[in-house]
Amino acid sequence: MTYDILIAGVGGQGILSIATVLGRAVLQTGLHLKQSEVHGMAQRGGSVQSHLRVSDAPVWSDLIPRGQADMILSMEPMEALRYLPWLKPEGWIIANQTPIQNMTGYPPVAEVWDAIRRQRHHLLFDAQQLAQQNQLPRAVNMALLGAASPFLPLPVSALEDAIAAQFHRKGQTTVDANQVVFRAGRALAQQP
């Protein structure tokens, strides 16, 4: 069993938090993993990605080979499309639809959404609105993670434990609030 996730977004959107929570959950489940990050220059509002590779056997390459990712999980819609060369034909794109337009020449957002909707397996939603509706506007990344959770080879309990560990130092209220958003994202993805 292998499962490769390419996590994408714009520097500052907290994709590393998604990767960290996933990493903890994988470790708790007893699976092997490798998780790569981008630091430094690329973080300054530029395109950032993290490759997360999960397996029941040792993982070798730290990078996901092109055409092998099971999922692109993206905090930003155009960034989701940037990594299409890495996605398996039957892979899933799960993306937040809110664009970050901190650049010249951002395309019309409708074009970006159409390109995502043309992919066979996609889930495009307003994760920002979902987080806001669930009282934690900052937890857009947890909404996204929740939406991805039904597809992952991980028990949801491991993910919820990992969220608890991630926000443990900020107190139980913060832990609970993040878990609420996570569950809302998961419920949305589980709708038929």
């Binding site: 070798w60 990078l63 901190n102 650049m103």
Partner: protein, 534 residues
Amino acid sequence: MRPNNTQSTPHLLLANEAIAQAALNAGISGAYAYPGTPSTEILEYIQRAPEASARKVHREWSVNEKTAMEEALGMSFAGRRALVAMKHVGLNVAADPFMNAAVTGVNGGLVVVVADDPSMHSSQNEQDSRFYAQFARVPLFEPSNQQEAYELTRQAFDISEELRVPIVVRITTRLAHSRADVTPASPCSPAPRPLPTDARQYVLIPVNARRNYEALLDKQPRMQELAETAGHNEVLDAADTSLGIVACGIGMNYLRECYPDTPCPHPVLKIVQYPAPRQLLAQLTARCRKVLVLEDGYPFVEELLRGVIAPADHAICGRLDGTLPRSGELSPESVSRALGFPPAPAVEPPACVRPRPPVLCAGCPHIDSFVFIKEVMAAHPQGRVFSDIGCYALGALPPFEAICSCVDMGASITMAKGAADAGLHPSLAVIGDSTFTHSGLTGLLDAIHENAAITVLILDNGTTGMTGGQTSIGTGRLAEMVIGLGVAPAHVRNAIPLKKQHAENMAMLREEIAHPGVSVIIARRDCIQTARKG
């Protein structure tokens, strides 16, 4: 599933963190470093580690990599183990003490960790630190994964004390910034070693240096023997000798990725320890007429194999013959293609996807600085703004396009001075506070000594920003420093980089450009990221 090892719990560590944990477990008394992607996390991990605090391990940032290396050498001299960490170009800065530490030899184990950056994700070049270890004639370890990063760093301290030379541990970005589970070994507490008894050993006047150098040369056979026989370099034998593969460091991972379910059918020589194991290489090339070299960085081993007289009956494939791309990091795709596997069907991103380069954060003080600099310089088409390494290097991109150079730490001031010597006017230098203390002080002193017609703008945002906000040693004290160096106080000005100060800042810059000597304008406002974290 991963084996459930109850002896020691695994941790999800970056290779950087694995190296740091290994150094702590090896009983270091100090870690020395200057921030630099992709090495920054090494000292940061040690700074956060409870055991480092409990044992009072030195763990402050140094002013630059040279001072860091020298401080580590001093700790080693005093009989204690020390770690020094830097990015690849940082070793250029530390090269003087590094080369000469091989000649003096070391006392307490000294491990030099260098994180190279093939594909230059955050650097000016992709130089390969294996050349430095060869240059200094010291051993180097290049782990292929996070667990090896831990184990080889532990080993490095022991070997450093056996051979009494610094040992290099080399990693690249992909490993430095990738997490995997690492199981540490039991920590040790080495007793401090006595002070060196030979009064001549560390005094490199020629009479001693010649003797020490001979001693270093005498150690070479033992270094070579270790690389051949210690067991870290290994031959993975297989039947199909139509191809032999040399896999260095992380190259081993990409190779294994190509054969997920079965072992590689070709003989493989895995190299994680240098000097390059000539005997093992000779044995492989004797059996296999075609050899593929997988290495992340320069074609270091490939060039060694090719030598001067390329053997007519061997085909050596790698970066130099087009089998692998000449530049840039290895990737699973390039290695797969080199092994003859068909490429994955090419999928391109849709046309609507545009590049998203890094930008200065909204509210960054450098934005206000570039706005006033650019407006003033618009009246001086013959002038130039030399700049430096840091977030402000983004001043080269639109919408500013305000700077004409970014070469190496501190070069803004010295290039501005050299250009001024050639008659270029106005000649401005834009440099950050951390870069200024790293390597700007000495260049400014040159300029002061000759009363050069340059205007230096120190953008003091109170931090070392690009690498994530580490301590900046001189922040807030820069005016005293530059006056102490000898800049006339009337030409040391303080600016606040804010929109509402725009007219005042422009007037200040115009006045200092008109001054035919050294001027320093300190533009002080906290980094917006640091300000947010509070």
